[in-house]
């Protein structure tokens, strides 16, 4: 290579500029090229000028891009900027990422392209990292969406199965229940009668369980619990609900009333609710202590409270007691339910526009209460 030109001349500003500078004919043939550009790519100016076209230095992808984007843009706008291309080194094995600007202008009556280029290795590397992390992120998002949808489908399927099974079990169970009622009247032998009564109680429990399961799936599937509100007498509704238990637990149940009984509610739902709460109280409360149900009506609200003495609900469990599948751990396996009862209680309270709450201590026992303001 010739001796470096004097760095103070105008000529060297072109030749030694800190970027590649070149002038090409309209078809891309090199007409003039500076030292910096030649040095970057390992060429002598003589090997480029009149010998090669700018696009000959590009990768195939870059050449297609040059055809589909660069040339039409240059024709339409007379300029193009910030194009990033890989330029091939003369050694043929390496490429240099360069950011390129070009202007189409007239020089001595013919169209020429003036091009400036600078090497952008760090920028290229960083941008590639950005692109690849963006792709990774998209994959993760897609994957997590898929997992989420699968989980939702599984949950939905499980809940639908519960709904179907519990619905289909109702018929055989009510047949057993009816048959047992008939047997209760027919059987005279005392021992046999006691067996029939056990069958009857278990069937009742199974029935309540099924109703809860059905309601649970309904609530979970987003349809909510259905209620049919009507004017009722709360006290007599509650009394009837308790009587069902009194037969099997003589003397343990007490009913207290406050105020007149008239209010608006779904009586069947309230019977279900009291059934769940009293069932729990009888199961978890101390065997020899009473379970007290208080129904209270005032012009502003009505409430139902079910109280029992016995070991308190642990405070850790207390906050989650209305969630589905939660249950006290102290009960023996025979006493366990599947843990839907209190969830249903809260759903019924909410369906009436009210709330369900619980307090529990060793000293004062455990009390569940639903409170419904008058609308």
């Amino acid at each position: 290579m010739a001796t470096p030109p004097d760095p103070n001349t105008e000529n060297s500003l072109f030749d030694r500029a800190p970027c590649g500078l070149m002038r090409c004919a309209e078809d891309g043939r090199f007409l003039l090229v500076n030292h910096t550009f030649c040095e970057w790519l390992g060429y002598d100016a003589e090997a480029l000028v009149g010998q090669l076209r700018f696009q000959d230095l590009l990768t195939v992808g870059g050449r297609i891009f040059h055809h589909t984007h660069w040339l039409p843009l240059l024709e339409m706008q007379r300029s193009i900027s910030e194009v990033k291309l890989e330029l091939k080194h003369r050694d043929g094995s390496t490429t240099l990422p360069m950011v390129v600007n070009a202007v189409l202008r007239m020089a001595d009556g013919v169209k020429v392209q003036d091009i400036a280029a600078y090497v952008a290795r760090d920028r290229d590397k960083y941008e590639r990292e950005l692109v690849s992390s963006r792709m990774k992120l998209q994959e993760l998002v897609t994957e997590s969406k898929r997992l989420h949808e699968e989980a939702r489908d599984r949950a939905l399927f499980a809940e639908q199965m519960i709904g179907i099974v519990s619905h289909d079990l109702r018929n055989p169970i009510s047949t057993i229940q009816m048959a047992t009622t008939l047997l209760q009247h027919a059987v005279v032998d005392k021992a046999q009668r006691s067996i029939v009564e056990r069958i009857f109680r278990s069937t009742q429990r199974a029935n309540r369980l099924l109703v809860d399961l059905l309601d649970f799936t309904q609530a979970r599937l987003g349809r909510g619990l259905s209620t049919t509100l009507q004017p009722i007498d709360l006290h007599s509704t509650i009394r009837e609900a308790i009587e069902e238990f009194s037969l099997n637990h003589p003397g343990r149940l007490q009913h207290a009333t406050v105020g007149e009984g008239a209010c608006t509610a779904d009586p069947n739902r309230l019977v279900q609710l009291v059934g769940n709460l009293v069932g729990n109280a009888l199961t978890y409360g101390n065997d020899e202590t009473p379970v007290t149900v208080t129904s209270r009506v005032s012009p502003q609200r009505f409430s139902i409270r079910v109280h029992n003495f016995g070991p308190p609900i642990p405070s850790a469990t207390l906050s989650k007691v209305f969630e589905p599948m939660t249950r006290g751990t102290t009960a023996t396996s025979v006493q366990r339910s599947v843990g839907l009862g209190l969830f249903i209680v809260r759903q019924i309270a909410q369906a009436h526009g009210g709330t369900a709450s619980v307090t529990s201590s060793a000293e004062h026992g455990t009390a569940f209460e639903i409170d419904v303001p008058s609308t």
Binding site: T59, V60, G61, F65, H69, L71, Q77, R78
Partner: protein, 267 residues
């Protein structure tokens, strides 16, 4: 969504026949700016952007629908149905020539003829067939596209680049040329350059003009003559042009080839 908004359809000029101009891979309907004035006094002219390009409605871009060129061809049929009046000559550049072929095969009655500028039914070499590229070349293009987001995040700026001598290039134009979402551009590139519609060529019976450049990297000379052999009613015109966009760089030659072809058909 209306077809007009989806494809940013523009109608200019008037005449007995309709020219539907379809741009190729890379830019948008502005590619036709030098040919439109030539024909606007004799033809009704319909211009549009392929979905995903230029000023089309990007929300209409559906990866499934546009996974093949047929998706674009179906759009063309809707545009012709709504905006063109017969006889219709479809002028397609590059990949849009293929889109026109697919549309023409699906609805032969909709088109009187086809003008194909730099067409290629298959860009990838395959045995005896020379499309010009290998799969690795196309991967390299996708890589280049990934590094360039022209007009998407940054933009060309003629004013600061010293192109003031071209006042007609307004801001509106500079903002839309070649504007593409990089993801859509890559998708379109893949669909375009990996497409192979050689088998369909014999089914297009309408008269077709192939405008072939003598120096075009994207559509080499061999491709033009291949198409003429396979199209039942094809005419090949080779013009002297470097590059893939003769309608921009050699509009005069393009127009005279088109004029001759259309005169022969009596349009």
């Amino acid at each position: 969504m209306s077809v007009a908004v989806r494809n940013r359809v523009r109608v200019v000029g008037s005449g007995k026949a309709t020219l539907v101009f379809a741009h190729g891979f890379g830019c948008d309907q502005n590619m036709w700016r030098l040919l439109v004035p030539t024909y606007a006094d004799r033809f009704r002219i319909v211009l549009f952007d392929l979905v995903g390009s230029g000023g089309s409605d990007l929300t209409a871009f559906d990866v499934q629908k546009y996974a093949t060129l047929q998706g674009y061809a179906d759009d063309v049929l809707e545009i012709v149905e709504e905006f063109a009046s017969a006889p219709v000559i479809f002028v397609g550049h590059s990949v849009s020539a293929t889109i026109g072929i697919l549309a023409g095969i699906k609805a032969p009655a909709a088109f009187a003829g086809h003008v194909m500028i730099g067409p290629s039914p298959c860009y990838i070499n395959d045995g005896e067939y020379v499309g010009g590229f290998t799969r690795a070349d196309i991967e390299s293009l996708l890589d280049t596209l990934e590094s360039n987001y022209l007009g998407w995040s940054s933009n060309m700026a003629p004013a600061i680049m010293g192109a003031r001598e071209q006042p007609e290039l307004g801001i509106e134009l500079t903002n839309s040329f070649c504007r593409t979402d990089p993801e859509i551009a890559k998708h379109f590139a893949r669909v375009t350059f990996l497409s192979d519609h050689r088998a369909e060529l014999p089914q297009l019976t309408a008269p077709a003009l192939i405008v072939q450049c003598n120096d075009d990297l994207i559509a080499p000379l061999t491709v033009g003559s291949y198409m003429q052999r396979k199209l039942p009613n094809g005419t090949l015109r080779v013009i002297d042009n470097v590059g893939h966009c003769p309608h921009l760089s050699s509009p005069g030659q393009c127009a005279s080839a088109m004029d001759e072809f259309m005169a022969a058909q009596g349009w």
